[in-house]
Amino acid sequence: MNDSMLTLDDVHTHIGQHHILQGVSLSVNPGGATILLGRNGAGKSTTLKTIMGLYPASKGSIRFKGEKIHREKTHKIARMGMGFVPEDHAVLFNLTVEENFRLSMVEETETTRQNLEDVLELFPALRKFWKTKAGLLSGGQKQMLAIARVFVCDHSLLLIDEPSKGLAPIVVDQLGEALLRIKDKTKVILVEQNFNLACQVGTDCFILDDGQVVFHGMIDELAKDKPMMKAYLGI
């Protein structure tokens, strides 16, 4: 338990009058990519946002690197080394690509500048549109930028919410490659509907249903467990 990087213990979250998370408990070890699976409305995104402090947990505790974080402000959690990529091409449309990157560098140091070079190597298209407003990029480019933004800083944990949503298959492949390269460097928690992508990237996985964890195991085990897949994922 103690060596886990992130632990959620019986976390409840209310949004307005809706009781979304109804006691989520999970723990994530360093290394590799952990996938959150589940139907629409199962509470995957809410789990990520609760971890990030965007929604207050009404009950339960969250520990990150051994410290309780469920009462912390979002920006403090972020500074502890947690990165977050929200869903739906979360870039700042009115800022240029350059400014998007500058924003993501909380401190502009040698390391972050070096990271930026590496990231641009990974996504050469972004260098081409360096001075373009992010709102004018294509859907795939926006998603690349959204992910690339987070790589610039050295995070110890990345929360990525449905990066493949609404992208063309060829772009999804590119994305998969990028994700594979990150997970070697940084621990990733990935919410993903695209099961193929999830299998390609992920090591272990949790399935959420109705605001609770209903399954935890290695992702290749899950792939063989057809009844489980049908019951909770409809595949």
Binding site: L54, H75, P86, F93, L95, R102, L103, V106, C153
Partner: protein
């Protein structure tokens, strides 16, 4: 091409009063108009900053302005009571001005922080609530102002050096007008630089668009918004002190009178555009002076006419986006 044509049309309009006014008077009026315009810009810039960046229309702006005017008045009054103002040299007067503006700016910023923390933070994203609550705050602040300084008009002691003028091509130019113009341009430059080039500008612009991303990147957006609000309030207060010196008088209702100018400027320029406010303020200042000379009774009305015409052609204002 189109922008060139627009610029030409603008210049043409600018020179049009020459048909009725002789050149020397025209230049005098132009200098007066520019300085008035820059003073209005100081007020409008705070309004634009708060509106354009934070999407909050702050009607308490007039109250920050009035507080600033009274703070400046108080500082000058104290200096005067120690006998420093009367015979001060131009440079000495400038120092006094800097102290007065600094005090006003600090008080304005402080009031801004208090207002933002107590009131504005509760109504982000809700325009109707913002309008209502800031009207209330403005009312309260003016009442407090009356408690502190009384309800009567006060005369502001002005360094004589500011009233002196120099002659250039036969045109009398008061030193204070030059100071006003320089200060306006300086503020404009600083704001443009801050918003376009610096990190803080990026963060603030990003925060307006998507608070969540900025927070999850690791910035304390609440503190940054408080700072922006305080800066806007400080500009209003500085504008207040400048206007107090310009008019050589302060009264508790002065905020409301100049809020009209600021509102017209922001509407003409396009909401949220600092450049728009700058251009709008120049238009308002100049046309006010030209028309006040030609048809004194029309002076305020002409600004409304300009506003109406610009709204007809460009409903979002000159530099408004969307």
């Amino acid at each position: 091409m189109k922008s060139k044509a627009n610029t030409m049309a603008g210049l043409g309009l600018l020179l049009m009063p020459l048909i009725w006014i002789d050149p020397v008077t025209y230049l005098t009026l132009t200098v007066a108009g520019l300085s008035l315009g820059m003073l209005i810009f100081l007020i409008a810039s705070g309004l634009t900053l708060i509106f354009g960046l934070m999407d909050v229309l702050n009607l308490a702006h007039a109250a920050f302005f009035a507080f600033g005017a009274y703070m400046g008045y108080t500082v000058l009054y104290l200096f005067n009571s120690w006998g420093w103002i009367e015979g001060a040299s131009l440079w000495g007067s400038l120092w006094f001005l800097v102290v007065a503006l600094g005090t006003a700016g600090l008080v304005g910023a402080l009031l801004g922080v208090i207002t933002e923390r107590l009131v504005i933070q509760r109504v982000y994203g809700d325009h109707l609530m913002q309008l209502l609550v800031t009207v209330g705050v403005s009312f309260v602040m003016v009442e407090i102002l009356k408690i502190i300084w009384g309800v009567n008009d006060e005369v502001v002691p002005i360094p004589l050096a500011f009233q002196d003028s120099f002659i250039i091509y036969g045109v009398f130019v008061e030193y204070f007008r030059v100071v006003a113009i320089l200060l306006g341009v300086l503020v404009f430059a600083v704001l443009q630089f801050m918003l376009k080039k610096t990190k803080i500008g990026i963060i603030v612009r990003a925060g307006v668009e998507n608070r969540e991303i900025v927070q999850t990147t690791g910035y304390n957006i609440n503190r940054i918004f408080t700072m922006v609000f305080a800066l806007g309030a400080a500009f209003a207060a500085i504008g207040g002190t400048m206007m107090a010196i310009f008019n050589q008088a302060v009264d508790p209702g002065m905020g409301d009178q100049f809020l009209i100018f600021a509102l017209i400027v922001v509407i003409i320029g396009g909401m949220g555009s600092v450049t728009g406010s700058f251009v709008g303020a120049i238009i308002v200042g100049l046309s006010f002076n030209y028309v006040a000379y030609l048809v004194p009774k029309m002076a305020l009305g002409v600004n409304f006419m300009i506003m109406a015409i610009i709204l007809l052609i460009r409903p979002k204002g000159l530099f408004g986006k969307e």
